[in-house]
């Protein structure tokens, strides 16, 4: 199943889908492709399960990346599909946007076991509550890291006070 077919499948399900392409190579020009699916958090589990159903191989989980958009937080769940064959791999990304007033997403650890580190990471770094996460300890930060400070935020909860090393570094 290639990127276009996956894209079509998700469009039929009613999701908003975008395809990104980038040409590469010198003599042999090929395209790197990515499918970006926007999902609501209530559909996230369904969308990932659906991907596992329609994909020929086990979707390879990469990472959850996040961005602070001001009033909202954006989470991107990156998966890779079609690996193992020459030129056939492409990325599938589920984009979830949640408001800062209610920062929570369901945990996917039961369907994607490898996601556990990433979910622990967004909990401590972005302050996103992951519902149903079996292990809620800190992963990269110390156990005594101040509560309510999230290093990746761009608002008042960002690491201003804790990050003394760079104070006065910029004019």
């Amino acid at each position: 199943m290639n990127a276009e077919e996956i894209m079509q499948q998700f469009q039929e399900k009613g999701y908003e889908v975008r395809l990104s392409e980038r040409e590469t190579g010198v003599k042999n020009r090929v395209k790197r492709k990515g499918v970006w699916v926007t999902v609501g958090r209530e559909n996230l589990r369904d969308a990932v399960s659906f991907l596992q159903e329609i994909a020929e191989e086990y979707p390879h989980f990469s990472i959850i990346s996040t961005a602070d958009l001001g009033d909202d937080v954006e989470l991107n769940y990156h998966f890779m599909l079609g690996y193992g064959k020459w030129l056939e791999e492409f990325a599938v990304t589920f984009k979830v946007i949640i408001p800062k007033t209610d920062l929570s997403v369901p945990s996917l650890t039961d369907i994607v076991p490898a996601i556990i580190f990433s979910e622990r990471e967004i909990t401590e770094m972005m302050g996103v509550e992951v519902e149903g996460l079996p292990d809620k300890r800190h992963l990269f930060l110390t156990p005594d890291f101040p509560e309510g400070v999230y290093p990746w935020r761009r608002d008042e909860t960002g690491p201003k006070e804790t990050n003394k090393l760079y104070e006065g570094w910029k004019p």
Binding site: V26, N28, I63, N163
Partner: protein, 404 residues
């Protein structure tokens, strides 16, 4: 009776900060818990709040000393995709050569460490002596042994000159001649076989479920290699094939021995790629836009997001970058190093193994803590801490025991 053995925080076997807490019953490991870090270096924060995108290339280089090409390479690729920089042909070939030189030196470094973990120190010294050859070439081409500082948006900063090429070819010849000896030492040696065969097995199913990357996943029989599946730079010209251990031994067990096989074959593969790249390297420019301020302004005017991947020696590195118009820094930047995901595989690998196997099994995924944690640990001082020497001694003792 169950005991807990903390391996770490400052690493007993790897000299890098990570803690593995093993629960043991007698000699048998029954549970494994990994504690990644206690002190975050915050490199992503620096890229998002302090450094401009060009400075960030060289910050990314400092994520890891050993694979210092893969991280800036991912960042550069992602930004190039968003902004739409075109990379000159010659620069794409140079990037391939730099990436493969890095793979050779990293795999040889690992081979030495693995020999040391087994208590085979004469092999460690031999392999690291052989590795000096590629370090000399890196010094010749980049001006320094370890950091490369060669990447720039839209190209590379340093050319591979005419006078470098014969020296690189000489290195390839040196390795081609010496390869059989190293392969024999690692693959035929009775001691190494005893200590690594059927030790630390990762099944294909676990490898897929835990989303492992790089040689760790390929040793379990998953044919996954970014250079093959989703090539970047000039890699589509090379038709790289993912290496699995059955190519040499005819079977795939997914044990520590198989991970040695994969890495050794990959050194050979890298040599072939460099040779082909030198033969086919086109001429011309190496940098699309030499004025740095212009590049910065162009990035500042761009908006979008992209992910980029690079097959680093340890597995695939992935960066996600988001740019916002008018914003001085990277708006969002997420680094995923290969070890981040490979650490999960320690648990299935170490289960039911012996304490003396911890160093070699932990080392067999070629972990790179600086990539993953971006940390230093200063913590945990429980009564029963095994020192590096003690653990190393246990490992050596097991080798001796088996040889009797």
């Amino acid at each position: 009776m169950k005991y807990e053995i903390p391996v770490g925080p400052i690493h007993p076997a790897l000299k890098e900060p990570i803690m593995i807490k093993c629960t043991i019953e007698g000699e048998r490991i029954v549970d494994v818990d990994v504690f990644c870090s206690q002190n975050h270096r915050g490199i992503e924060w620096i890229g998002m709040n302090r450094n401009n995108p060009v400075q960030s290339i060289y910050t990314a280089e400092k994520i890891c000393g050993i694979c210092n090409f893969c991280h800036p390479s991912c960042l550069v690729m992602a930004v190039e995709e968003i902004v739409g920089f075109e990379v000159p042909e010659r620069a794409q070939y140079i990037r391939v050569i730099q990436g493969e030189l890095e793979r050779i030196h990293s795999h040889l470094l690992w081979a030495g460490v693995a020999a040391h973990e087994l208590g085979f120190d004469s092999l460690l010294h031999y392999v690291w002596m052989v590795r000096e050859k590629v370090m000399d070439i890196l010094e010749l081409v980049n001006g320094q042994r370890v950091p490369k500082d060669v990447l720039m948006y839209g190209g590379v900063r340093r050319d591979i000159k005419e006078e470098h090429i014969p020296k690189i070819r000489e290195m390839l010849k040196y390795y081609a001649e010496g390869f059989d000896k190293i392969a024999k030492l690692f693959l035929q040696d009775k001691t190494i076989k005893m200590r690594t065969r059927e030790i630390g097995i990762l099944t294909k199913e676990d490898a897929m479920k835990l989303a492992t990357a790089g040689p760790t996943t390929r040793a379990s029989g998953v044919k996954k290699d970014v250079r093959q599946d989703m090539p970047y730079y000039a890699y589509p010209d090379f038709e790289v094939k993912a290496i699995t251990p059955d190519m040499l031994t005819g079977e795939t067990l997914g044990d520590t021995y198989d991970r040695i096989v994969v890495r050794l074959l990959e050194v050979k593969q890298s040599m072939e790629i460099i040779e082909q790249a030198l033969d086919e390297m086109p001429g011309g420019e190496i940098l699309a836009e030499p004025k740095v301020m212009k590049v910065i302004n162009q990035i500042k005017k761009s908006e979008g997001e992209a992910i980029a991947r690079h097959e680093a020696p340890r597995g695939e590195a992935i960066h996600y970058v988001k740019l916002k118009e008018g914003f001085e820094y990277l708006y969002a930047w997420k680094v995923r190093a290969p070890t981040y995901i490979n650490i999960l595989s320690w648990r299935p690998m170490l289960m039911d193994m012996q304490i003396a196997d911890i160093p070699i099994v932990a080392a067999s995924i070629d972990p790179c803590m600086s990539c993953t944690n971006r940390v230093t640990i200063v913590e945990d001082n429980r009564e029963r801490v095994l020192t590096a020497e003690h653990l190393h001694r246990l490992s050596v003792q097991k080798t001796r025991r088996l040889m009797k």
